[in-house]
Point group: C2
Chain length 534, copies 2
């Protein structure tokens, strides 16, 4: 069953190898776990629902405490601390589970008639507070699209598939695979996040280099709004005015509820493999990565770890003997202290894969890259969606882990990465605490790339202080990001957590434009208030 | 000097080979040219300017009749008929030529202070009425960005270049070429159209398969609006809410005046070549084209002519002996009556070109494609920007030529192309006139492609009737397009001519969203009224 107070399925866990614990302990000290609250204890705190009764929607709404608890929070570290402490504060007044567009329209009618706030809910995987209720003196109804999870149509000639918006990643892929197709959208949250959530939050998957971000995959769909139904037809490309798709992408539930999504699909590739190359230092590694994408080497995936992430990954991998052998092999070839690990994917027809791999290896060689084959790449592929489970293992050891991510132009990558890491690394110095910080670049464009920074710190001896520490790290580093030409989010979205930082990159007029859109669709502000625009 | 009443430079002309005239005459009858009005005759009709005097902008504005005539119309067939007949109707009350952002802000201030309508003007190449004044009882000032035509900055690492918005195609490419870069945006209007116009109208270039449409190339920029300056920062990709870039793209001057454009540039390729393959029939040809793009064969350009376009192009090419030899060669290999010509481009490093060409030839062979090498492809490349001059040659022979274009999903391409061609072919039957109609597909996506249909008809014995005939063909076929899942424009934009057809694809709520945006930026409707939204 799904874990109510953390990530994923409670029957699955990932252990940190012993060496991993030692590695962290040596860097930031040993941890002491905080006590977890029990589900029934939390359920007992859930107040009576304020939702007005209306026969129109009675059958659609579940007001039971456990369901309300399970839909109260996402997966940000603040959410995590709230859930583990049991101090959740606010709960939705009920959870609706519509099955059809008619149901969704009835819920919108209900919201309008009774002045109820609606929160659209996909997989509940937000790490930016998208689905958290806020107190505004009105009843809050969370609308889960979980029942709308079917492949509704597939057009093989046009390679367009239509899904119910609540379809989670594995069901998207398995339903397509049965027909010989793939969407190719693989965010780390793939196990739980949904196709509608990807659109609403402008998601990006690990193989965006081949398949594109969700912006490129989203071909059209249906959005139920307070003003009626918005149908966006599938058209390959158009110069007919501003693109309505692009207004829905990233709208985070403020314009309406996405109920159906048309996506551009691809035939399952003939071949796919993931390869690992080590570079002697960051300068060579980063330059090689930039050249790979600027020279249009047709990789399907690219990820580059900086020296500390490389060291951390090797330490946390387990198998110390094998890793030792690998490190000796690399050292003899010039990749020693300071080395950086690059993982790349090659996908397509046999001929395409052969040509691309040859081109990639040749280019990496020019920057002293040491090619190590597909063994580590296969490991990466195997674990690509289970990494969030590591948070649970770390939590049990008294460590909190979180990530901050952005994207910026190539000329600014080192500057911004350096400032983010340094802000996080020194952020708890006045508490005499250290933070372990490392980064990879994982989405590449001719113009620049994403920067994905992970930080681990010890929990304090109480929840309140742990939250204060996290908020300090999060807020100061978010400020560093937007003041240094980074977007407040490359792939997680805005939600409530990033909303205060949005105006720096959008500008006053950009904010005004987004506000004009939300007011046009939702003049009373009933949909997901305080998300996107605070 | 630029032709005041037609396309391009008046020192350059393109002749139709004799066989071309015979070919058309056999199909739609011989033409008789209509008399052209003289420039001084038209200038004499220009009324006194209604622009209020304001020292803030006096030096920026030219009110001379000739300049006003030269900025009164674009390049649609209706514009062409107006210019050739001399019956132009409306003229702007003046033309401003700002040099700086400060100048543009002064012009916006002037518009606000004196209730003057502004029309942003790039290269004046619109074929949809973007820059034509409309009578609304207010003075109209056309703002030409022609003086803002410099490369302002180039960031080699991030491959971003910044241009003044009025920079025309050849100056974009020549200024980049000096640094070893290309933008790769080559619309047929390249000679005259500008980088700001490309953004404002969501333009697409002939090599969009490699370089992307302007949506992919536009990285950010500066837009001067009535509410202040909107600066869009360059960020490679972001999930931070709706994308402001996508609101400016296709805004057609309704939100503000684009003054600076940041674009994503590429290193000049090592190699480039264009190849021609003939297929025995449309079914094989269209399937091969679809497979090329769905299989991600990395072509830089792809164009597929249907049988009538293929026949027409060969007839109009001149060199009947050589063409005869080619046709015998093709006929022996199965491509005879009904054959279709495909042109494709291969661009990149030597290794990439070699691999892509091999892949493309192999795939074409599977559909009975007969490869003929690069000779015809080189001809295409040589003439790619001069085709609009052919309109002049046809005009002198008494023929009017125009195009209609759209895009749709693969499953609908034949249906829509057939209906468009048939509507045009039979459109003048009740006048006992024939229309020569042919089509190519020229922009390819996994999901579908563009459909670009050309039609030639004889001018009537007066301008008025010629315009009536054109309007009938244009309007009935535009209706066919939007009622059959096509966009009203894949690459020409909306302007005033397509505005009545826009709501079918955007829907009532989509129109409301665009209106909300324009009202937010321009509540009094001073900017380019009746364009985009009628």
């Amino acid at each position: 069953m799904r874990r109510w107070n953390g990530w994923g399925d409670d029957q699955f866990s990932l252990d940190l190898p012993e060496q991993g614990g030692d590695f962290l302990s040596a860097r930031i000290g040993g941890g002491t776990a905080l006590p977890d609250a029990a589900l029934d204890h939390v359920c007992a705190q859930v107040p009576e629902s304020r939702l007005p009764v209306d026969p129109l929607v009675t059958d659609l709404i579940d007001k039971s405490p456990e369901v309300r608890v399970r839909h109260a929070r996402g997966q940000s570290l603040a959410d995590w601390l709230a859930l583990r402490s049991g101090d959740i504060g606010l709960f939705p007044d009920g959870v609706a589970l519509p099955q059809t567009n008619t149901d969704v329209r009835a819920l919108l009618q209900y919201a309008r008639d009774h002045d109820v706030h609606l929160i659209p809910y996909g997989g509940g995987t937000s790490v930016a507070g998208h689905i958290n209720p806020v107190e505004q003196g009105k009843p809050v109804l969370t609308v889960s699209l979980a029942q709308m999870k079917r492949l509704l149509d597939i057009d093989r000639q046009s390679q367009i598939a239509t899904f119910g918006a609540g379809t989670p990643g594995p069901l998207v892929e398995s339903q397509l695979r049965a027909h010989g197709y793939t969407l190719g959208h693989f965010p780390q949250s793939f196990e739980l996040s949904t196709i509608g959530g990807w659109v609403a939050s402008r998601s990006s998957g690990q193989q965006s280099l081949r398949y594109g971000r969700i912006e490129q995959l989203f071909a059209g769909g249906r959005i139920e709004t307070l003003q009626g139904t918005l149908d966006i037809p599938t058209i390959p490309a158009s110069s007919a005015g501003p693109d309505i798709r692009e207004m829905i992408l990233g709208s985070e539930g403020r314009l309406g509820l996405i109920t159906e999504v048309n996506v551009r699909i691809s035939k399952l590739p003939e071949q796919e493999s993931f390869h690992v190359v080590f570079f002697p230092d960051w300068e060579q590694a980063r330059t090689a990565a930039r050249k790979l994408v600027q020279n249009r080497v047709a990789l399907s995936m690219l990820r580059l770890s900086n020296p500390i992430e490389t060291e951390t990954q090797l330490a946390l991998a387990g198998h110390p003997r094998l890793i030792g052998l690998l490190e000796r092999f690399l050292s003899l070839r010039g990749a020693d202290t300071g080395k950086c690990m690059m993982t790349f994917g090659v996908t397509g027809s046999k001929a395409q894969c052969r040509a691309t791999l040859a081109e990639a290896r040749k280019l990496c060689g020019r920057y002293q890259g040491v090619y190590t084959g597909t063994r580590l790449g296969a490991k990466w592929a195997e674990k690509r969606f289970t990494m969030p489970y590591l948070r649970e293992a770390l939590w049990q050891m008294g460590y909190a882990v979180d990530t901050l991510e952005t994207a910026t132009d190539w000329d600014n990558v080192d500057n911004l990465m350096g400032k983010m890491e340094s802000c996080l690394r020194n952020g708890l110095a006045d508490k005499n605490e250290s933070t372990h910080v490392f980064t990879h670049l994982s989405h590449f464009y001719g113009q620049g790339c994403s920067i994905y920074t992970t930080y681990v710190f010890r929990v304090a001896d109480n929840y309140q202080e742990t939250l204060v520490r996290w908020q300090h790290l999060k807020n100061t580093t978010s400020e560093v990001i937007v003041r240094n030409r980074g977007t407040i989010s490359h792939q997680h979205g805005v939600g409530k957590d990033h909303a205060p930082f949005l105006s720096v990159e959008k500008g006053q007029l950009g904010m005004q434009a987004i506000t004009a859109l939300t007011q046009s669709f939702d003049p009373s502000g009933l949909l997901n208030p305080k998300t996107l625009l605070d």
